[in-house]
């Protein structure tokens, strides 16, 4: 979680108005935190975290706090502690910690990321399916995928076998997903004379990176027939090679430097386009946004993505905390230009500085919290 955000220029009345909306949301929000009494909490109003080392004995006490002392940001520890409110950290008595993966997108401009959140979601799904479930062997029941409320996704893993891992061990998992130190040439055993090389390598059915590489190569050779060599425009050459790969025999191509040519495919294997933020995964004392709480910079819910609707999930449609209909209109005045966005299942904007608009609450409050507009009170 970045700590660079500093509260925008809401005036006291406006701020009170916004927090009242937050409070109403929290009065019946679905917030379930396993072992809540063992978690440390942090709250933020000026920065994302102004105060930490707080704890709650029960879900009701936590809800009451959110409704009455509503903050802009709410985080809880990945870790479970004997004494979550003790300071310094060493006195808390750590019992274990969820394994956290953080995928964040950075893009040009204040609104650049919102059109690209689909990409982060694709990576988050790949991270979950290929790495966390297939390779690490963790059941989906122990995983929640959460929209971060702004520019990415968090994955919380609560498998008891992994709760006791230390910082180094967690980093190793994040680096595995990021492919740090991955060299696909290590998959191969090359022997024999130069003109009749015997190349033994991964099979489609292999586990982890090896199997993914074999599958990706077969797909790529068949789909982009000429990218790797003109020889693959010949269907027989193609089939001979890909059928060989299925058995782990990579020698059945007449392209002499075939392994070198496949490098671009290997580079696509890790979660690299956005990358897992290693520093988050390895930090056991990290506070992470409470799932289903509101992100104070956007007014969007850090929503737990229902795994059944993962493909259709779109934060700007499905992670809204406030009203979207005609009966929840809020008038705002823009103090800067804002580009067009797809929001609440409709096209919104662009808007010009000085423009006054009546928009559904979820949209109005988004622009207010982004610091692009003021509520007309």
């Amino acid at each position: 979680m970045e700590k660079t955000w500093v509260q925008n220029s809401m005036d006291p009345n406006e701020r009170q108005f916004v927090l009242k909306k937050f409070s109403a949301y929290y009065s019946n929000a679905n917030i379930q935190i396993p072992s809540i009494n063992q978690r440390e909490f942090g709250f933020g109003n000026i920065k994302k975290i102004d105060a930490r080392h707080l704890s709650f004995g029960s879900a009701e006490a936590f809800r009451t706090y959110l409704v009455t002392n509503t903050p802009l940001f709410v985080s809880h520890s990945a870790a479970y502690y004997e004494r979550p409110d003790a300071t310094p950290m060493e006195r808390k008595g750590i019992l274990g910690a969820d394994l956290i993966f953080d995928l964040d997108l950075h893009a040009e401009g204040k609104y650049g990321v919102y059109a690209m959140l689909g990409k982060v979601k694709d990576d988050a799904i790949r991270l979950m399916e290929d790495f966390i479930v297939s390779d690490f062997g963790i059941s989906k029941k122990e995983i929640i995928l959460v929209f971060s409320g702004n520019r990415g996704y968090h994955i919380h893993v609560r498998d008891t076998d992994y709760l006791g891992l230390g910082s180094e061990e967690r980093r190793e998992l994040a680096e595995y997903a990021n492919g740090i130190g991955l060299n696909y040439l290590n998959f191969f055993d090359v022997s024999g004379p130069k003109r009749a090389l015997r190349i033994i390598g991964p099979k489609e059915s292999d586990s982890g990176y090896r199997g993914r590489f074999a599958k990706a190569v077969i797909r790529a050779i068949n789909e982009k027939t000429q990218t790797f060599s003109r020889k693959f425009s010949n269907i027989e050459e193609r089939e001979r090679f890909t059928n060989g790969i299925k058995e782990g025999n990579w020698s059945k191509s007449s392209v002499s430097d075939i392994l070198e040519r496949l490098k671009p495919i290997a580079e696509q294997l890790p979660i690299r386009s956005i990358g897992v933020d290693t520093s988050v995964t390895q930090d056991i004392a990290r506070l992470i946004r409470v799932p289903n709480s509101i992100h104070g910079e956007t007014g969007l819910v850090a929503k737990i993505v229902p795994l059944a609707n993962i493909d259709s999930f779109n934060p700007l449609d499905d992670a809204l905390a406030f009203g979207t209909g005609a009966n929840s209109i809020l008038a705002i005045e823009f103090n800067e230009d804002v580009p067009q966005l797809n929001f609440a299942k409709s096209s919104v904007g662009p808007f010009k500085k000085g423009e006054k608009k009546e928009l559904p609450e979820s949209i109005s409050l988004f622009f207010v919290l982004k610091g692009s507009a003021k509520v007309i009170l």
């Binding site: 297939s134 390779d135 690490f136 062997g137 963790i138 076998d161 992994y162 006791g164 891992l165 230390g166 180094e168 061990e169 980093r171 190793e172 998992l173 680096e175 595995y176 990021n178 492919g179 740090i180 130190g181 991955l182 060299n183 290590n186 991964p202 099979k203 059915s205 292999d206 586990s207 982890g208 990176y209 090896r210 290693t278 520093s279």
Partner: protein, 292 residues
């Protein structure tokens, strides 16, 4: 008591005591000497000595493992927290090497006990459905690491310390190398690898460094023998310098005795900036001498 002391002395010299026990009573005495060693360590609370002891015990254990049969190894392995399977029950898994004797170690145990080397790095392993495949040799290596970790965890002594323990500790103290850092360490040009040089340069220019860079540099400088005061004074160049916090953190680094991050780690932090191929920043000198 004497055997316990001897066990520590040989650990200090980088060796481990070979077992000569034949009779049951001798074997018992050997087990007892392990316990005595740990009591002495608990009284002394010397990180250096404890680490030396842990490594020696791990090597000793490894020499036993090599002689043990499959059954006994399995039991010991289990006891150390490394339960292995001969076959992965998941139908998604297909053995990739086709070599006999491949074993499957649960991923969390593998992460805890695999040595920090590129060969054991997860990206270079076959990982499937929560298991990592290892060969018998690698399994023994994991077990050795587990012993090292266990032997290095020394509980606090409860109650009064017997005089015999105190005496043994006195005896050992004279054998300890003088590892207290000299009060000042100064570097000449070329003394440090490019990555560390770059961080030091940034400091001199009052540039901000991220947490990992600060940590890596402090661990490195500590290992090179710089005192806490010296490092804190260096860090006073930082734009957001806070003496109290810096001092606390550097002292913490010293107290915990962190090992200097490897080049691979520095690469993953984005600190590595040259292709020196030395494995660890601490090998820099060796590299220069080797080149000459």
């Amino acid at each position: 008591m004497d055997k316990g002391l001897a066990r520590l002395k040989s650990a200090l010299s980088g060796k481990w005591m070979k077992s000569t026990a034949v009779h049951e009573s001798e074997k018992l005495a050997e087990v007892a000497s392990y316990a005595v060693s740990r009591m002495i360590l608990s009284y002394m609370r010397n990180r250096y000595l404890t680490n030396k002891f842990a490594v020696a015990e791990a090597k000793l254990a490894h020499s036993f493992f090599e002689k043990e049969g499959d059954g006994a190894l399995g039991t010991i392995s289990e006891e150390l927290g490394i339960s292995v399977k001969k076959e992965n029950q998941s139908d998604r898994f297909v053995t990739i090497h086709g070599v006999n004797g491949i074993l499957f170690v649960p991923l969390p145990a593998y992460l805890k006990f695999s040595p920090r080397s590129i060969d054991y790095k997860l990206v270079n392993r076959s990982v499937s459905n929560g298991f990592v495949s290892v060969n018998p040799h690698e399994r023994r290596r994991l077990m050795e690491e587990a012993v090292r970790k266990k032997a290095g965890e020394i509980p606090q002594l409860r109650g009064g310390v017997p005089d015999s323990i105190k005496k043994a500790a006195e005896n050992l103290k004279s054998d300890l190398p003088k590892i207290e850092p000299q009060s000042t360490v100064t570097f000449k040009e070329g003394d440090n690898p490019p990555c560390m040089e770059k961080l030091l340069e940034s400091l001199k220019k009052h540039e901000n460094l991220n947490h990992q860079s600060r940590w890596a540099l402090a661990v490195y400088l500590t290992a090179r023998g710089m005192s806490v005061e010296q490092i804190v004074s260096l860090y006073s160049n930082l734009p957001d310098f806070n003496e109290k916090i810096t001092k606390y953190q550097v002292e913490h680094i010293k107290k915990r005795g962190y090992s200097v991050p490897s080049c691979a780690t520095l690469l993953s932090y984005g600190i590595c900036c040259a292709d020196c191929r030395i494995g660890s920043p601490l090998n820099w000198k060796g590299k220069v001498w080797g080149a000459v």
